[in-house]
């Protein structure tokens, strides 16, 4: 009788030990298969759904001022005469005048 009981206990312990060893092996294998880089990639690939709701602007909401621009001249004279490139393009050809003066003036 005692002999049977002892055999049963040993079998139970072996089965528990075997189950634990298997579980340990499974867990160890699972952890060693993913590197930190894989984990980052995995995080990045997750599509996050927005959870916060941005309220729609109301009339009372202050709108940040956009950069102001200098008022553009409406005078045709100024439009041309402040534009260096335009002046270069439209300049009359220069007639070189060679001075015929001799000596100090």
């Amino acid at each position: 009788m005692l002999k049977k009981t002892a055999i049963r206990s040993i079998c139970s312990i072996s089965i528990v030990t075997l189950v634990m060893l298997l579980a340990t092996a499974v867990l160890t294998t699972a952890c060693s298969g993913a590197s930190p880089a894989d984990a980052i990639v995995a995080m990045q690939s997750v599509d996050l759904e927005p959870t916060a709701v941005v309220p729609a602007p109301t009339e009372e909401t202050a709108v940040p001022p956009s950069p102001t621009t200098e008022p553009q001249p409406t005078d045709e004279c100024l439009i041309c005469h402040i534009d260096k490139d335009e002046l270069i393009q439209t300049a009359d050809p220069v007639e070189e005048v060679i001075s015929e003066n001799e000596g100090e003036g």
Binding site: E70, P73, D75, E76, C77, L78, I79, C80, H81, I82, K84, L87, I88, T90, A91, D92, V94, V97, S99, E100, N101, E102, G103, E104, G105
Partner: protein, 407 residues
């Protein structure tokens, strides 16, 4: 001064000019033309230089200045006629006027030639994107015209000659001595503008070396004027030498200017026989209460009997009416010069004085009023005859002693 590119001459500064006082005036109010994106059409009726007519374009805002413009030497060039009228004959004035129009009138300067652009004489062009400058630029306005003598001397452009001490150490510009009051012309009498005591001042002179000196060295160097400094030479010579006799160095003189119209281009031109650096002390031809000096510095002007021969014969019949060595005030002032080195730097030094042997024979008669007959004798000769003891150095206050003062 390098000439400006065509676009530079007319480029308006888009940031500064529209904000300026003149920038508030529509372009067409002064420059005419029409509003068009097409250049040729826009320039129809263009007034490129409005201040050619200051009474139309400047007077509304600047009535006090424009009212004096008829007396403005930059505008009327009267200085030329002061000389021409004396050297020419009235019957020749028509042809002289033609010559003047071809060769002299280009020196005319308008308000804009000093306050907004470079002078037309040197090609013009806006200076600071059409900004109007109350104070003209020394180099781009004043010496742009007054360059070959005043500019080169003042700025030290002659080899081995320093710039004027007022520029070199003081960085003074022309307007620090020559004020707008002088530049804009003066009325016949002071009370036309002034009501206070200044209205009783002496009337403006007809010649730049007539009347009260303005500018005047002693306005700043006041101790030299009243003889209270410790410089011995100021006490001894303060009244009989102009300041420039001791304090200027070599300056430009010119010979033989002739004018003509080019056969190839049709343009007027001039040619001078030569220019050279020289320093000559002569007699003061304009001695007066305000200029009591016996000796002044002289500069040779390039007039010659045949200067206007292209226009006719004998057009300067009265050449001798004025010296060809003229009273001058060189703009290369130095504290120490060859003349201040010692008494004998001048006394007995014939090279410094305009003696008859240094004048062209055909100009001797014209220069009689300025030629020095006897140069000041060396100090040794003075001490020998007067038994004078001279102390060493020029700046001591230990003055001369004579036998009369010796007990």
């Amino acid at each position: 001064m390098a000439p400006l590119e065509p676009w530079e001459k007319v480029l308006v500064d888009s940031e500064t000019y529209p904000e300026s006082v003149h920038g508030q005036i529509p372009c067409q109010d002064c420059h005419g033309g029409v509003q068009s994106a097409d250049k040729q059409e826009a320039h129809t009726g263009l007034v490129a230089r409005p201040s050619d007519q200051p009474e139309i374009y400047c007077q509304e805002c600047h009535p006090d200045v424009v009212a004096l413009n008829e007396n403005n030497l930059h505008d009327n060039l009267a200085g030329y006629w002061t000389v021409l009228n004396q050297r020419t004959a009235p019957e020749d004035h028509e042809v002289i006027a033609e010559m003047f129009g071809n060769h002299c009138s280009s020196c005319h300067a308008t308000c804009g030639d000093c306050h907004v652009s470079q002078p037309a004489l040197v090609g013009g062009g806006l200076i600071e994107g059409h900004m109007f400058n109350e104070t003209p630029s020394l180099t781009r306005n004043c010496t742009a015209c007054h360059g070959s003598r005043v500019g080169n001397e003042y700025l030290g452009k002659h080899e081995d000659l320093q710039a004027d001490v007022h520029f070199r150490q003081g960085r003074m510009a022309c307007v620090d001595c020559h004020t707008g009051h002088e530049m804009h012309g003066q009325p016949a009498t002071c009370e036309e503008c002034h009501t206070g005591p200044e209205a009783q001042m002496v009337a403006p002179a007809n010649h730049r070396y007539d009347g009260v000196q303005s500018p005047r060295c002693e306005s700043c160097h006041i101790t030299a004027a009243i003889g209270q400094d410790d410089i011995e030479m100021h006490q001894v010579h303060g009244a009989d030498l102009s300041c420039q006799v001791c304090h200027s160095v070599a300056y430009t003189s010119c010979d033989g200017c002739h004018v003509a119209i080019s056969e190839t281009t049709g343009n007027p031109f001039f040619a001078t026989d030569g220019s050279y650096l020289d320093f000559k002390i002569g007699l003061n031809p304009l001695k007066s209460f305000d200029r009591p000096y016996n000796y002044v510095t002289l500069r040779h002007v390039p007039v010659a009997a045949d200067s206007f021969a292209f226009y006719g014969d004998n057009l300067l019949p009265n050449l001798n009416a004025l010296p060809t060595w003229v009273y001058t005030t060189p703009h290369n002032i130095q504290r120490e010069t060859p003349q201040t080195a010692s008494c004998d730097a001048c006394h007995g030094n014939a090279d410094l004085f305009l003696t008859v042997d240094q004048v062209y024979p055909n100009e001797v008669e014209a220069n009689r009023p300025v030629i020095v007959d006897r140069i000041p004798v060396p100090i040794a000769e003075i001490t020998a005859t007067m038994n004078i003891t001279v102390t060493s150095g020029l700046t001591t206050t230990n003055t001369l002693t004579t036998t009369e003062q010796t007990p």
